[in-house]
Symmetry: C2
Subunit: 344 residues, 2 copies
C-alpha cells in the first residue's frame, strides 16, 4: 500500500488526515474526488513533500518553530516557574552560535549580526534558564535569536522579560510565546506595504515588531489570565506602559497566521492586565538594576568607577545592596590588579 | 503514556521523530537532555503545538501549502501530462472564490483583489485542468492565487505556463512547483531590505517575485531535465528570454526555505534548457493566440470587430484557423443579435 492510499478517508466532508508525519487536508467531498486525490498525491509528490524543516524543535527549556526563509524563529514557547529563574547558570561562559541542528544553508551566523547595527535578541531569554547551564547554552543558539534594536533589547523588552519572571513569584507557572512579525505600514500616497531590512550574507530578516503572549496559571495549573502584546522593534522609552502595546489575541493570530494554544479556549480567560498589573519596572529601579549587573561584570577598577559614576550622572539613589556590591567588587578588583602588577 | 513520551528516542545524536502528525526535532545528545525535553514538551506545549494550518492541502490535480500569515500559497505542486491540457472544462463557468477549506480568519477574499491594481494570478494554472471541470474549479480557489502584475500574468507568466503544457507533448510528464517570493533589494544608501505591498482588508501579501521549478520526465518516469526560475512580479517584455530568469535550484531553496523534492538528488539532473529549448512562444504567435482566445469569448459583434482590428493595428498575419474562427463567430453573433432584435 502506498504512503498516501492509507491516508484517504472518503466521506461527505473535507478530511484532515495525518500521513507519516504530515497533517494533510483532503478536499474530498465525494468518492470520485477522493480517488482523484489519492492518485494526485502519489504522482504529484512522488519525490516527497516539499520540506520547510521540522515543525518544531525541542530544547531543554524551550521549543520553537524555525523559519528557513527568514533565518529566525517563527515562534518560541516556554513554560517557566520560579525554579527556572534562579540558579548557577552563567551567561558569561556562553557565546552565541549557529544552531547545530539547523541545516547550514538555512542557518544564520554570528557574522550576519556583527556590524549590522542590530543586536542578537533572545526570544526565550537567557534569564529564564538560570537553573541549567545546558538550557541557557541552548538559548544562545541563533535559532532562538532575531535581529533586535539594541535599546529595545536592553530596555523595554528586557523589562517585559523581567515582568514575566516576576510573575513566577506570584503564580505557579507562566506560559510564554514570543516571536517576530513583519507588519504593514501606510506611506504618504496611501500605499499599504511591508518593509524590513535583511542583514548579512544569509539575509536574516529584521522584524518590524516582536510579539509576546503571556498566560499565568494558578496552583491547579489552570489559566488565570492572558495578555497578547505587539511591540515595535525600535527604542521604547519609560513613558510607555506595557498596556500601550496590548492587542486582542485574535488580531495577533491573524497577523502571524498562528493559533498559539489550539487546545485552549482563550476567549474565556480574563485579561492578564486586569488580574495582574502589567506594570513594568520603573526607570530608577531599572537603572539601578542594570548598574548592578554591570558592576558584577566589571573586569577593571577603571570600568567599575565609570559604572559607579552613572549613579550621580543619572541622579539615582543606590540601596544598601548596590553599595555593598560596589564595595566588594572594588576590593576584589583592587586585589586582582595588585597581583597582576606584582607579577608584571 | 503521554503524547510526547512515546516520541523520545534517546541516543548520541539529535533525533527527528514523528509524533502525532508533527515532525519534531529533539536536541537530545544525551540521556539527561532527553529526559528534560520529554518534560519540556509536555509542559510547554500542554495546549497543543502552535498551529499554522495543515502542512499540505490536496486537490484533484494540485497540492499546496498555504501561508496563513501572507494569505497566499507557499508552494503549489503539479504533475501534468498531455491528458490534463485538453478537454471539456470551461473556465467561463467558474468564478474565483475563497477556499472553503481555509479558516475564514486566514482566508483571502475576492474583495481584497478587486480595485487593488493587482490581478488574481493562478499558481496551478486553469489551463492545466482542461480534463476536469471540478479540478479547474479548485484551481480558482484563492488558496491557489496570489496578487500578480496583470501584464506579467497575461504575458510572460502565461507564456511560461504554455511552455510547460507544450512540454507534455514531448515528454511523458512534467512536474511543476510554483509560488511567491519576497526578495531583498538595495537602496541608494546601501540598505538591504525587503519591501512589498499588502492588499485589501485581509492584507494579502504581494510577492516581489514568482518562482517555478520544472522537471521533465521520460517514458520510465525518470527525471530528464530540471530548471528553476525566479521571475519579477512586473511586466516582462518579449525582449526577455526564459533563460534570463534561470537560477540555480540551491539559490531558490535558500531564498524560499524549501527543499522541493526531498527524495530526489537534483544535482545529477541535466539542465532543462540544455535538454529542451526553454524558448517561450514568440510575439506574433502569442498575439495571434491571445486574439483567438478573445474571439472565442466575444459576446457582441462590436467587441468581435474590435478584437479583429488588432490584427491590423499590431501588423499580424492571421492563419487560416484564426480567419475561420473569426468568420464562424461573426455568423453566430450576427444570428444571435438578430434573434434578440426580433424579440425586442
Amino acid at each position: 500500500m502506498s504512503q498516501f492510499v492509507k491516508g484517504i478517508i472518503t466521506g461527505t466532508f473535507t478530511t484532515l488526515a495525518a500521513i507519516g508525519s504530515y497533517r494533510i487536508l483532503f478536499e474530498n467531498d465525494n468518492q470520485e474526488s477522493a480517488s482523484s486525490q489519492t492518485k494526485a498525491s502519489e504522482t504529484i509528490l512522488k519525490y516527497g513533500i516539499p520540506d520547510r524543516g521540522p515543525d518544531i524543535r525541542v530544547y531543554d527549556n524551550h521549543i520553537l518553530s524555525y523559519d528557513q526563509a527568514k533565518k529566525t524563529p517563527v515562534w518560541v514557547a516556554e513554560y517557566i516557574t520560579k525554579r527556572n529563574i534562579d540558579g548557577p547558570a552563567d551567561r558569561r561562559k556562553i557565546k552565541f552560535k549557529s544552531d547545530p541542528n539547523v541545516q547550514t544553508e538555512f542557518s544564520a551566523e554570528n557574522s550576519d549580526y556583527l556590524g549590522s547595527g542590530w543586536s542578537r535578541g533572545h526570544m526565550a531569554p537567557a534569564g529564564d534558564n538560570k537553573h541549567s547551564q545546558e538550557a541557557m547554552k541552548q538559548s544562545f543558539y541563533l535559532s532562538n535569536i532575531l535581529p533586535q534594536n539594541l535599546e529595545n533589547n536592553g530596555g523595554f523588552w528586557n523589562r517585559l522579560e523581567m515582568y514575566c519572571r516576576d510573575l513566577t513569584k506570584k503564580y505557579k507557572g507562566v506560559r510564554i510565546f514570543s516571536g517576530p512579525l513583519v507588519l504593514p505600514t501606510t506611506d504618504e500616497n496611501g500605499l499599504h506595504y511591508v518593509k524590513y531590512p535583511v542583514i548579512g550574507k544569509n539575509e536574516v530578516s529584521v522584524p518590524t515588531h516582536l510579539y509576546k503572549v503571556i498566560i499565568i496559571e494558578n496552583e491547579k495549573s489552570e489559566p488565570l489570565g492572558l495578555g497578547a502584546f505587539i511591540v515595535p522593534n525600535q527604542p521604547i522609552g519609560f513613558e510607555h506602559s506595557l498596556k500601550d502595546f496590548q492587542v486582542d489575541l485574535k488580531k495577533l493570530e491573524r497577523s502571524s497566521g498562528i493559533i498559539f494554544t489550539p487546545k485552549l479556549d482563550t476567549v474565556k480567560i480574563p485579561d492578564l492586565c486586569q488580574i495582574d498589573s502589567c506594570n513594568l519596572m520603573k526607570r530608577d529601579k531599572f537603572e539601578l538594576y542594570m548598574i548592578g549587573r554591570k558592576l558584577q561584570g566589571a573586569r577593571s577598577l577603571k570600568y567599575l568607577e565609570k559604572i559607579w559614576s552613572e549613579i550621580e550622572t543619572k541622579n539615582l539613589t543606590p540601596d544598601s545592596y548596590l553599595i555593598n556590591l560596589y564595595n566588594s567588587r572594588k576590593l576584589e578588583l583592587t586585589y586582582e590588579e595588585k597581583v597582576v602588577r606584582n607579577k608584571g
